[in-house]
Amino acid sequence: MLLAAILGALAAGVVWLFAAKIWWFPPGIDAHAAAYDEQFLRTIIICGVVFFLAQAVLAIVLVRFRQRGNQGRARYSHGDRRLEFLWTVTTAIVFLGLALAGTKLWARVHFDEAPADALPIEVTAKQFTWSFRYAGPDEKFGRTALRFINDAAGNPVGLDGADPASRDDIVSATLRVPVNRPVKLILRSRDVIHSFFVRELRLKQDLVPGMDIPLHFQAERTGTFEVPCSELCGLGHSQMRTTMQVMTQREFDAWLAAREAQKR
């Protein structure tokens, strides 16, 4: 009957919508993304099977057991202990198995430290723009202080001009990284909670005022990728967007050199 038909159509239609990958992740650009996609596929296939079976069984039940004229009583039963035990244990194994499978992926992102030769980039978020600071040739981040912050004059991170280490620091509104090199982001916020998200990296991390949060990755393909703020940060939350440009080492060095030259 009608509801059973809807459930059947639903079961098939939803599975198709996901399987057809019409709306899907953008292609990943690093090894982590590939591992991510595998774990997701594992999960979504299991979920898809369960979804399909549940809706199908529901539909079957509706058709098979609808009341038809005078056909006698329903089956009087208070349950079945063995069946309960069986499906409880099966569910537990499947769900916990999935959870454990994903742990390795998580560990590689957050338990492992960034490699020692990772390029450090300090990310500062504020209402409603991003700033990315590079340490420059001296490989030292200069001192910053609140009182030096001057957005209008292009000093959003509050670089202390008196500190020699800060003279070669480059602050950029977009994130630029060299391909095939480990990068370590140090995420900070000046005001409220923001969140850094790059779809192609399959990575996201909140930026919390008062905390310096590390996030490392190694991009393996060049290109320009969008970075939309992913934690409600006020009025301009939907406008707070920048890009990550992954470029060859040569292009990256050239860009840094050009920015240094500009400073002088």
Binding site: W24, C47, F65, E84, T88, F95, S230
Partner: protein, 554 residues
């Protein structure tokens, strides 16, 4: 009866209806807000840009607050519970009728304070129903609505917490001490178990929220630094005198409340669904004891999974693993319940009343909503999906749809008892089919928006390139939303028309077994709650008060 005694009635049935209509008012307002939001998403420049980002965000905040607190916490528990708990356990009244009256009016006061935020300078807050500091804690400087509007929001929530504890006191005492003769705990209808478990959850969770709300209020108005670190800089102004606090502390406290809260929203619905499925399958609930233990397990586990809302927050990644395992563990009792619902219907003689359709629909959407939780419960996968439309789809499926279906099932089932008339079945079925198809059309595409990476809480999608390509999906969702909303008008018409003109109902129009379908003043119980199609009985149902010589297993 004088007007004053009617308004401040201590009769549990009147109070139950008062809660129900407060919830109805809130849901209509909440839906209206969401329709404005959906319209804005597809027509961002409409009305000359009248829906500014701050207006959009304030509508979103109030939509969430209204729905979570004043609809889903109020109707399944306080409305249906106050009306039917005493009836189902054979008590004459709730344990503390005057306290009951106070708890309703305190809830109403909380709603009034919340809505007043719309009308003050700066308007309603923009920080979402989750109100994360520092955005919610530094005042006007963080954005419009963050001045008086945010303060009123916090005060409203604080008042709601007090009302909730008052309600819990009543529910627990009533179930513990006022059950009639023969009504042992294991003979209680499942809604009563759900109301007991939910009352215990509320009691513990809302108390914590109250503590957190007080601390947030102090950070805003007394210069304290519970949630505020040093070095905050807004709009050319450095915030002075705050240091050492942590925004994460708020998140921990809030979600310690927030996760049990979503179980508070769904558990009574689960009880109602079990109750309705059994009645219209003419079969006992499959695995009654397992159903009870599953609800208890869900409630207990619900207290130790709060960190799954914080996987990306900067909290310890090691604790994320622990929270994840516990979160997926909660899927197990939920699955047990789903199997048991199917088991209840299997081998039954199904009667497709509107109440039954909504109960069946609940099972369908509960599975769908629960499964997206399996994705989100893994921190590794949450690295992409956190704060995307996928999360919004997940919780709307479970709360906005499943919990609401529980409310509809309860309404259609219990309306004859509450008002002495039946709702129109044809209108009911039309409402059901439009709603059921409509909510899937609405929320399945939202998962796809999330897969594509759409962040949540965006007031417009024109600044991010990849979001532009998703506008067709947004348009489809908006159309579905308007259709579903329109379908609810059928329900509202049905409800109000039937209140006055519906066909009169007998005492037990559904041929159900539990005490709310009898008129006995001092019932004595001899049977379990779900003795349908018992081989020893003359009819295909045995009322709990029927003579003890009828053979039944419970």
């Amino acid at each position: 009866m004088t007007l004053r005694r009617r308004i401040f009635s201590t009769d549990h049935r009147t109070i139950g209806k008062q809660y129900y209509f407060l919830g109805l008012f809130s849901v209509l307002l909440g839906v209206a807000l969401s329709l404005v939001m959906r319209y804005h998403v597809v027509h961002p420049k409409a009305l000359g840009g009248a829906i500014s980002p701050e207006l959009y965000l304030s509508l979103m905040t109030m939509h969430g607050t209204l729905m979570v607190f004043f609809v889903l916490t109020v109707v399944p528990q306080s409305a249906f519970g106050n009306y039917f708990l005493p009836l189902q356990i054979g008590a004459r009244e709730m344990a503390f009728p005057r306290l009951n009256m106070f708890s309703f009016w305190t809830t109403a006061a909380s709603l009034a304070v919340l809505l007043s935020a719309f009308f003050v300078e700066g308007g309603a807050p923009i920080s979402g129903w989750t109100a994360y500091p520092p955005l919610s804690a530094v005042g006007r400087i963080a954005g419009p609505g963050e001045g008086l509007g945010q303060t009123l929001w916090i005060v409203s929530i604080g008042i709601f917490c007090v009302a909730s504890v008052m309600g819990s006191i009543n529910f627990v005492a009533t179930i513990a001490d006022l059950r009639c003769k023969g009504m042992t705990l294991m003979r209680m209808p499942l809604p009563c178990w759900s109301w007991l478990i939910t009352a215990l959850l509320s009691l513990l969770a809302f108390a914590v929220l109250l503590g957190a709300a007080v601390l947030l209020l102090l950070d805003r108005s007394a210069g304290t630094s519970f949630f505020l670190p040093a070095g905050l800089y807004f709009n050319d102004t450095a915030i002075q005198g705050r240091a050492g606090g942590s925004p994460l502390l708020w998140q921990h406290l809030f979600w310690f409340f927030g996760h049990p809260e979503v179980y508070i929203a769904i558990i009574p619905g689960m009880g109602i669904v079990s109750h309705v499925l059994s009645a219209f399958s003419r079969k006992p609930v499959f695995g009654y004891r397992a159903m009870v233990y599953a609800m208890v397990a869900i409630a207990f586990l619900g207290f130790v999974v709060w960190g799954h809302h914080m996987f990306m927050s900067g909290m310890s990644p090691y604790s994320a693993v622990a929270f994840s395992l516990l979160t997926l563990a909660i899927g197990v009792p939920s699955a047990i319940k789903t199997f048991n619902w199917m088991g209840t219907m299997w081998g039954g003689r199904l009667r497709f009343t509107t109440a039954m359709l909504f109960a069946i629909g609940f099972v369908s959407v509960f599975v769908t909503g629960g499964l997206s939780g399996i994705v989100l419960g893994q921190p590794a996968l949450d690295l992409y999906f956190h704060d995307t439309a996928f999360v919004v789809a997940h919780f709307h499926m479970i709360m906005g749809v499943a919990a609401t279906f529980g409310i509809f099932a309860g309404t259609f089932f219990w309306f004859p008892r509450m008002f002495g008339r039946t709702l129109n079945e044809r209108l009911g079925k039309l409402h059901f089919y439009l709603t059921f198809a409509g909510v899937y059309a609405l929320f399945i595409p939202m998962h796809l928006l999330g897969l594509a990476g759409t962040p949540r809480r965006y007031s417009d999608f024109t600044s991010v390139d990849f979001l532009g390509a998703l506008m067709p999906l947004h348009r489809f969702i908006t159309h579905a939303a308007y259709t579903v909303a329109a379908a609810q008008l059928i329900f509202v018409v049905n409800l109000f028309w039937s209140l006055k003109k519906g066909p009169r109902a007998g005492v037990n129009p559904w041929e159900a077994t539990t005490l709310e379908w009898t008129d006995a003043a001092h019932p004595v119980v001899h049977h379990g709650p779900y003795e349908y199609s018992s081989p020893g009985a003359a009819a295909d149902f045995t009322m709990q008060t029927d003579a003890p010589n009828i053979r039944s297993e419970a």
